[in-house]
Every structure is written in structure tokens, then in C-alpha cells.
């Protein structure tokens, strides 16, 4: 077998690796923002639907949170030969704006980085926002 292509040392597989589905369990649950006055993401429901990571997000709103609906998440492990999910990405396109959620676990804290780009000519800047979530 020809050597695997790598873009950096970490891509290297040190020994044969049987392909396993990623274990989504560490990510699954309802994650609530630590900051009750947060103006960004309010909470997320993350699920495992037959091996597919589902991400349902609510943004802060008055009087009720904005329901962003469900998106497919892409799970990531901590290395090329590992199976437990430690991070995920999900994309939302609202037409007037698109948001990439780039998220990872730190212990049992979920860190959610939202990269937002407005597409409506409103003059609002692309912006970055970080929030921290826990499972109550």
C-alpha cells in the first residue's frame, strides 16, 4: 500500500486503524449558555440520529429565543486513530447572514465559537463570538 498523504505530522497513522464510526455520545445533550444574559447563542440541542450528528440551535431573543432550526453537524475526534467526538462544526445560512459554529469540548464544557458573515448589505461587520455551555 502506498504511504498515506499527509499535510503535517499529525496526519500520520502510526499503525493500521480499523474504521470505526465516531462516537457522538460525548456531544449529545441539551447545552445551556452559562451566561444567562448572553446576546449570542442561547442553547443547543445536540443529537445522534442513526450516527448523524444533529445540531438544533436557538439564538437569544426577546421575548423568546430565535429558533435557528436543525443543521447537520460534522463531528471531529482528537486524532486520526481515535473515535470519540470532541468537537464539531455546523453551518447555518439564513440568507441575510451565514454562521459557522466551530465548537469543542473542554472537560464537560462546550465552547461555541460563532463566525458570522452578513450578506444583506446592511453594513454590519463579520464578527466572532465565543460562548460557553453546560448540560444542567
Amino acid at each position: 500500500m502506498p504511504p498515506l498523504q499527509i499535510s503535517r505530522t499529525r496526519d500520520r497513522l502510526e499503525s493500521p486503524h480499523a474504521l470505526h464510526p465516531v462516537d457522538l455520545a460525548p456531544l449529545v445533550g441539551t447545552w445551556v449558555n452559562f451566561d444567562t444574559a448572553a446576546t449570542g447563542v442561547h442553547h443547543l440541542e445536540i443529537g445522534d440520529r442513526d450516527g448523524e450528528l444533529t445540531v438544533h440551535t436557538w439564538g437569544s431573543g426577546m421575548p423568546d429565543p430565535h429558533d435557528w432550526g436543525e443543521a447537520v453537524g460534522e463531528p471531529f475526534t482528537d486524532g486520526v486513530a481515535l473515535d470519540a467526538a470532541v468537537a464539531f462544526r455546523a453551518n447555518y445560512d439564513f440568507g441575510f447572514a451565514r454562521v459557522m459554529l466551530a465548537c469543542y469540548l473542554n472537560k464537560r464544557l462546550l465552547v461555541v465559537d460563532a463566525y458570522t458573515v452578513f450578506q444583506d448589505g446592511s453594513g454590519r461587520s463579520p464578527y466572532f463570538r465565543r460562548d460557553h455551555f453546560y448540560i444542567p
Partner: protein
């Protein structure tokens, strides 16, 4: 007409719109990984050329570093009303793997997350990294 929003912080603050432009200059320069033994990205050069914000990355390899070349980057501010760049995202597609860079700066440190998706059927797991850089 009221601007659309999906969370409170999306709402315009009332000041004159800035055209949605973010100045990446606070992030420009060469950033070095704080871990000298990293198996990931060793250094990055952030530059602006002809109005385009670019990232150039070099990754760990032996005997030489892997030169990833340049990729267009998107600068982000700290909120929708600021024009000062403090974060960016970029995509490298190497064919066999796609790497998304998602980075922000804080107190002189650049924190880089990478999301790596293999497309070569090699059985390698898609993986995440988080590394720290200084200028």
C-alpha cells in the same frame, strides 16, 4: 427597514454602517506556535495584499516543514459594529484532506482551531486541533 437578526447581538447599534469591512491589520505578521514540538502548524504569516487578507501556513514535517501556501482568509471583528479584526477563518483543500482554520486573538496570543476532514477513504478519523501562537 429593520435589519434581520437571529440573536440580540446581530441588531444594528444605530451608528453609521461601515460597509461591513473589517481591518485585518491588528492580526498581520508572523505567528509562531508556542509548542516547539508541535505535530500541527508551526507558523503562520498573515498579510494583506491588494486588499485581500491572506494566510500562509507551514506545518510540521521531516526533514522539512510542509509549506501549505497561501489561502484567502476572512477577517472578523469582535461584534457587528466594530471594524477592528480580531479573528479569522480560512480553508485549505489539499484534495485528500480539507482543513478549516478558525482563529481568534486575545491579549497578544492567537488561538487556532483546525477542523480536518479526510476525503481519501484512508480510514483516518476527522480530527480537531487547538494550538497557541505568539508573534
Amino acid at each position: 427597514m429593520e435589519a434581520q437578526s437571529v440573536r440580540l447581538e446581530d441588531r444594528p447599534a444605530g451608528e453609521a454602517p461601515g460597509g461591513g469591512q473589517v481591518d485585518p491589520s491588528p492580526m498581520l505578521g508572523t505567528w509562531h506556535n508556542t509548542d516547539k514540538n508541535t505535530g500541527g502548524i508551526v507558523r503562520m504569516q498573515l498579510a494583506e495584499r491588494s486588499g485581500t487578507f491572506l494566510v500562509h501556513a507551514w506545518a510540521a514535517g521531516a526533514p522539512d516543514l510542509h509549506d501549505w501556501g497561501e489561502a484567502a482568509a476572512m477577517a472578523h471583528a469582535a461584534n457587528a459594529h466594530s471594524h477592528e479584526g480580531m479573528a479569522f477563518s480560512a480553508v485549505y483543500d489539499f484534495g485528500f484532506v480539507e482543513t478549516i482554520l478558525a482563529a481568534y486573538t486575545k491579549s497578544g496570543i492567537l488561538v487556532l482551531d483546525t477542523f480536518n476532514t479526510f476525503k481519501d477513504g484512508s480510514g483516518r478519523s476527522n480530527y480537531f486541533t487547538r494550538e497557541f501562537f505568539h508573534r
